[in-house]
Amino acid sequence: MLQLNDITKNFYGVQALKEVSLSVRVGEVVGLVGENGAGKSTLMKVLNGIHQPTNGSIEINGAKRVLRGPRDAATHGIGMVFQEQSLVPNISIAENIFLGNEARFVKFGRIDWRTMNDAARQQLAKVGLEVDPNTVTADLSFIQRQMVELAKVLTLEEAVAGNLCILLDEPTSMLEQAEITILFSVIRKLRGRAGIVFISHRLDEVIEISDTIYVMKDGAVVSRMEKAEASPSRIHHLMVGREVAASYYKQEERQRPEKQIALKVRGLTKAGAFEDISFDLNQGEVAALVGTEGAGSEPLIRSLFGLEKVERGTIELNGIDLTNVLTDRSVAAGVGYVPRERKIEGIVEEMSVQENIFLPLARQATRFGLFDFSRMAKKTNELMGKLRIKAPDRSTPCVNLSGGNQQKVVLARWYRTGARLFLLDHPTRGLDVGAKEDVYSLIREICAGGAAVILIGDTLEEALGLAHTIVVLKDGMQTARFDNTAATPLTPLDLIPHMV
């Protein structure tokens, strides 16, 4: 019922989608997989009418359509269930289902609650959810809310002539196994009346529920396979399969770590995130945490900084206990954190380069309780030179800097505080090639100075190219640990079996 023909989408000269063709039939579940940045969400936005394709066409039920936004897409029968749920928490289920379309329930200015709730009950029956439509949405469990979302999308059945296509964007990412089973049974039930596109990071799930699987990489569909041909490792190879360019990461320029232990992690556990993680990290050593999305690397690195609390286990840096401390203590003990969400946790965009560099431990820059501006200026200029931060001057607001230079400002901050442990969460996310190389060389310099680094890379290649040690996580468990300093370098193929 839905056919995409050679969809191409350019953003400012960058090709986000390259001649993507895809077809969904009624009765079919189409799985869509790919790494972050492979183009899945751009494709969804095209299907939802948020982006217009640069080239190519969309056919729905045999007719070519131009979609002008989510409402327009909906009138043509395309409904979307978002990753972040789109239900208003403080109103009833019925109200959510008919939000924006309540007009038919209003009589003499008053809402006819009985009719509205009856109509809502009919919709809920389609997904087999038996709850009072008058319940406040926030009182539902996550899976129930997901069902309500589905029911909301299914109201299109009455409104649209022809079949529906339902897009499910990572519907399982927050669900427990039992709930996933429920969701899948509902999806199978709906299959009879709609085409379904299913996006997920969990490959086994995608294989289980889908009839056809499309694998995307770098904005293009690299493979289309039937369920019978699919296996997690095959898909994974297709997703990440990229030439390993050791030279690009200048693997040979890595310094040898010292023998002295910097960080000791023992039995670290946080329910639902990671379990029983233990490792040592020497001074000057880079350890990379690898795993699929949601394997637990991110909560782990945030726990090491003190942003999240752990239930069990200990963290010790150079003899100082840092288990469950607030970030001021960990910063004082020499931890520096480069967050994934640069604009939320990394820098204050409105503030200048200098102010951002002097955010933590500002007391070090004071004299008699007042800022010592001449010393700050000197230090800022020194760091800007050393880290090659390209900005007109130190008072430039960070909002005017490129992503790479912003990231360097974050790194410069921890340089200044003399951090002995750098926690780098996707440090090269969203950076162009040149900026990436700069960041890589800074990481090497950090190690040469004797500080330890824990890295979550954007890709497996990046992790392999920079790290001395690779810790592999799967579903929150440490499944393998590799020494990456042997004569024959590791490849992604060595890691994948432990990841999926």
Binding site: S86, V88, P89, N90, I91, E95, L99, V106
Partner: protein, 319 residues
């Protein structure tokens, strides 16, 4: 069919009110005399109507600080429409009331327009327009208190039916009206949804601007009714008719359990909030507490109310 959740946070104000009444009446049994309860009810009438208007705006996650200015504006219009001491009124009698309320609603709508179309934060738009309202009233009244001579308006404060002042009936009617608006009309449900998650309401194809403007207009109408009650009680129209009411209204809304972030609470919570504040005011005088203690108690009360209404967020720092 209202959507309510029985949670500790929502029954808390009721417990607080009951506890206050018990505590005060143990110390001073005359607190519970019928006459005193009627006095509390009469004193609550105007603040309740104002707080109801403010509740709507707060429910959708905005705030309306124009209470005093809107009241001044409405009060000046009222003086112009009825027989008054300077002799130039239109002498419409009770027919002036719809005019006054419509004018107040229009004034509220204007705040909404400034807020939505000019993208001025609601607290600034309403604060600014509040001063405009005060200014207009000052010009219209020549900076004076203009006495209201019209007997039918004065009667709103002085006449009693079944030993209760008319203002209590007016306030009860406004409460019922507010309850219907909140629970049985589209605008009522939308303002609640807006307070819950604005982006999602926008994504559902609702014209959020119109909702906001309409809610400010409804709030304005309530302020207009409050201004009529206050002017009737004062027996005069004055630019200062609403002085002190903003704090009472907003604190009553908060004490009642409506979150300043919007989306939770409602008109019944506000009724409780107004009663708590007025019982406290009345009770503390009856107990003979010194004024500075009274102010302290009221301030602590508000902070406690906000704490009780907040979901516990661990160590997160509230901004």
């Amino acid at each position: 069919m209202t959507v309510t959740r029985l949670r500790l946070a929502s029954v808390m104000p009721l417990l607080v009110l009951a506890g206050l009444c018990v505590a005060i009446s143990i110390a001073e049994p005359r607190f519970l005399s019928i006459d005193n309860l009627i006095r509390i009810a009469a004193a609550s009438a105007a603040p309740l109507v104002l707080a109801l208007g403010a509740t709507f705006v707060i429910l959708m996650g905005s705030i309306d600080l124009s209470v005093e200015g809107s009241m001044a504006f409405a009060s000046a219009i009222l003086a112009a429409c009825v027989a008054n001491a300077n002799g130039a009124g239109l002498d419409l009698g009770l027919a002036a009331l719809p005019l006054v309320i419509a004018a107040a609603a229009l004034f509220g709508a204007l705040i909404g327009v400034i807020h939505t179309y000019l993208r001025v934060p609601s607290f600034m738009a309403s604060l600014g327009m509040g001063f405009v309202g005060l200014g207009i009233a000052t010009i219209m009244l020549g900076g004076e208190r203009v006495g209201i001579v019209d007997e039918s308006i004065r009667a709103l404060a002085l006449t009693r039916i079944l030993n209760l002042p008319i203002s209590i009936y007016v306030a009860t009617f406004m409460l019922a009206l507010a309850w219907v608006i909140q629970n049985h009309t589209r605008i009522g449900r939308r303002m609640l949804a807006l307070g819950g998650a604005e982006q999602l309401v926008v994504a559902s194809g609702v014209n959020v601007r119109h909702v906001r403007i309409l809610v400010f207009a409804i709030a304005g109408a309530f302020f207009g009714v409050g201004a009529v009650l206050a002017s009737a009680r004062l027996g005069a129209s004055s630019a200062l008719v609403g002085s002190g009411q903003l704090f009472t209204a907003i604190s009553a809304v908060v004490v009642g359990g409506t979150a300043l972030t919007g989306g939770s609470g409602g008109v019944l919570a506000t009724l409780l909030g107004v009663l708590i504040v007025m019982v406290l005011n009345n009770g503390m005088v009856i107990l003979g507490l010194p004024t500075f203690v009274q102010q302290g108690v009221l301030g602590i009360m508000i902070i406690i109310a906000v704490l009780l209404n907040q979901p516990i967020r661990g160590l997160a720092v509230a901004k």
